[in-house]
Subunit: 498 residues, 2 copies
């Protein structure tokens, strides 16, 4: 038995090494690679991913999993979790034929190219046949799995293990009315001014300030680094090598700061993993939503809070006297929390963000259901934008064509962003009970207690618990929108004097 476990772990370690190597190559591709390297890099990544898949889906692994499962009593709790998580991954990886994976890779590569062109020209018909093919393949993908309560469950489960479509729609159904109501109230209130945020800011100084902030948070530079990339992201090759990227946008200079906090939030999750999970199926995060709860927590609940800026605003002001010299703390705080229904999801503020997600989720479910044809997407998109946010995109580039996800075959992904917001607030209410003087600590630039809490309750567990199970264990309840609604209402009532 012990021999089998050792052998199982060896194979898992090999698979983990191959995936980590692929992650290094992807990071390099986005951060360093000269343009000429793209074709060869594609081959290298394809080989690594094929070998990782091959090594993981052998009959031998299947038999080892079976043997270990039938002897679960002999396993430690961590080992049992490892077998459970690997078993789920194995089931998925073996259900889907490699021929399908190869077909999807080809289709989504072409769809991606078409999407880039379609978005550039704001011409949905260029993308339409490709998206139709993606939806067709998505149906085929679902068909490899046993019938679920809802076909969309199969997609959701890839990003949020164990999560059901019915659960997500119930959550969003109860979240939508109060959130739409709040936005309408804000729209009628006196607007905040934020023109000073769009002055010219020096990129280097903001970069350094961001580094100072996340160093205080506890992001460990001995086990990480930050680089520039076209899209901010976090990636990790080890508990001890967790990297983040950011970017500077002249139109939204301070965005670099929030992006650094966001990605460092992801990064501290990975740096906080139990080191013994490295090279096992338990390494990394419980789900995308739980991961997003960490990034949002640091970016929004900490980084857009008044106590945080009580400590940091005087420093920022010293760095940028001409831009912020006449701005007081409260004005600055309001400005960075300004609510404004907008067309683009990634630029949306806290109050409107979830509505962008709900719109996408509803469209995805309808497409998977067969209720919505791809050709009707642009029209429905615009109708829902009007309904939820009160604005209509002037063209499809600023509407239905804005996101990359569908071109890559990633249906089922979007809801994790919104669920992450909800989880962050459930954790937050618990944290505030456990650390009553949190605001006072932030005011003094202290974040150790918060990070230690997150390490103990979330980070160290890696993939050991399913997301719902983790949230339940830590907060006493499954994923639920109430704390988030309470937070938004209270925060924006203050800012907009509702």
């Amino acid at each position: 038995m012990n021999e089998k476990l050792v052998h199982f772990k060896e194979i898992m370690a090999e698979v983990a090494d191959l995936k980590a190597a692929a992650a290094v190559l992807s990071w390099d591709q986005q951060v360093n690679m000269p343009p000429g390297g793209a074709e060869a890099r594609g081959n290298q990544l394809a080989t690594l991913s094929r070998l990782a898949h091959q090594a993981f889906t052998t009959d031998e692994v299947g038999k080892l999993l079976e043997a270990l499962r039938s002897n679960e009593a002999a396993l430690s709790p961590d080992e049992a979790a490892m077998v459970r998580v690997a078993g789920r991954d194995f089931d998925k990886a073996t259900r889907v034929p490699s021929s399908f994976v190869a077909e999807l890779a080809v289709v989504s590569t072409q769809a991606h190219e078409a999407w880039v062109e379609a978005r550039k020209k704001s011409d949905f018909p260029i993308f339409r046949p490709h998206l139709e093919k993606v939806v067709e393949l998505t149906h085929k993908y679902i068909s490899f799995f046993p019938p679920a309560d809802h076909p969309y469950d199969v997609l959701l489960d890839d990003y949020e293990p164990g999560m059901k479509t019915a659960e997500v729609t119930a959550i969003f159904d109860s979240l939508r009315p109060p959130q739409v109501r709040l936005i309408r109230q804000i729209a009628q209130a006196k607007q905040v001014r934020d023109a000073f945020l769009h002055k010219k800011f020096d990129e280097r100084k903001l970069w350094d300030f961001g580094v100072e902030v996340v160093s205080r948070f506890g992001y460990d530079w001995e086990r990480g680094r930050q680089d520039k990339a076209a899209h901010p992201f976090e990636t990790s090759f080890s508990v001890n090598d967790v990297r983040i990227t950011t970017r500077f946008e002249a139109d939204h200079p301070l965005a670099i700061l929030f992006s650094t906090m966001h990605e460092a939030g992801h990064g501290m999750y990975e740096q906080g993993n139990d080191p013994s999970y490295e090279r096992t199926p338990l390494h990394h995060g419980a789900s995308l939503a739980v991961h997003e709860s960490q990034s949002r927590l640091w970016e929004n609940l900490v980084g857009r809070s008044l106590p945080f800026w009580r400590y940091f605003f005087p420093r920022l002001k010293r760095l940028f006297p001409s831009q912020l010299g006449n701005v007081d703390l409260r004005t600055f705080y309001k400005a960075i929390n300004k609510v404004e229904p907008s067309l683009i999801r990634v630029n949306a503020d806290e109050a409107t963000y979830n509505l962008h997600i709900m719109l996408r989720l509803e469209l995805e479910i309808a497409m998977v259901d067969g209720q919505l044809a791809v050709k009707d997407l642009p029209q429905i998109w615009n109708e829902k934008m009007k309904e939820y946010l009160g604005i209509v995109p002037p063209n499809d580039a600023l509407g239905v064509l804005q996101d990359i996800h569908w071109s890559g075959g990633m249906l089922g992904y979007f809801s994790t962003y919104a669920l992450g917001n909800l989880i962050s607030l459930q954790l937050w209410e618990k944290i505030r009970r456990d650390i009553p003087d949190l605001d006072e600590q932030f005011r003094r630039g202290k974040f150790e207690a918060l990070l230690a809490w997150l390490h103990a309750n979330v980070h160290q567990h890696g993939r050991r618990h399913d997301p719902q199970e983790l949230v339940q264990r830590v907060t006493g309840s499954k994923i639920t929108p109430e704390p988030y609604v309470r937070y938004l209402t209270e925060k924006y009532s203050g800012i907009y004097e509702l």
Copy 2:
């Protein structure tokens, strides 16, 4: 038959991808990796190298090679070369048991650590037992191969395919007397002044100047990049992704410039490979010596020549008026070519460099022969330094402990550095016949003709020819020291008015 060839190429492509991925991980380790990442990176690299070895050494590959060899008439010349080169690699890889490879990895990791400590403390006895073990394993390694004319042939062949110990010693025996004589003459001549080279120079400006120089050479930045690293090196993951590194040393500020030219010389070799060789056994360079001939050619024959500096010195002077304002071209040229017997190989000038190599080669051969015991190394080292260079290291850190190679089990490597120098001059004499106005071109900052010549005669061929065969094809003779001796004599007679 065609099916077998296709399958053979598929396997070779997979092996090449794994090696390229490992090269990316190594580059990252030396350029970017945060300190914490070291342990996981070691695991990832070990897995990639094990999988590449496994994929390459299967019975299937053996049978494919046999089948292809027995049908050589059906192969194109490139395919036949591919099978020949892969066959040689396969023979080596399958003769050496994996248990030995694993043992050597452990021994050399420990030996490396011991060497670091020994060098730091200048205490040879710390390193001695480890080096004894390395020499023992080297004997064992040799025993896996059929008896050669000389046991050292086996080692040499790993770095210079087809090269014999007798050939190398004959070359060096005829090189040593004139080179020692030249250095003695120089020692008695009027010395050149170079104090101005050791003033303070701005790193960034020198970096940019180096980039300008190698851009003019033809190093393609669309397919490459330069970064800082502890040790300058070149590495390539594709014909279209070839990277170089450099470093700045405050004591030798201009060294960054020559290091950039040197590594770009390696890089242009890789960038000039026939693109169809990518992912095949013919990718990369013919041997270490041929590779070194390219780096030395650009660094020394171009980069330390008078015509080159006729074009670039006015520019360098404009960048550094306070350091070089009073220095004329001829004085500068003499200074960067100053000859001074010194203790450390990597800092040696062109005239003394090869003597450092000969010393090492003689000691290696004697150790492999059993004529020299490890315990006697420091004494013999110092005696030979006295004999060849007229100086004696004050301690072993500056003597026998200076190089990393032996700690890594790399006996047989050193001679490639000197052979590279010799090859560079054989090529150079041919180039000057083929491009009679080369000096005039350099004077105008033109290097296209030189690079085109090297592409056509050396670079594009990748590993298709063995080094001796390549040199013979291009220059009409095997590796020979005469052109190098002629060059040194003429160059230094001018500089030192001998």
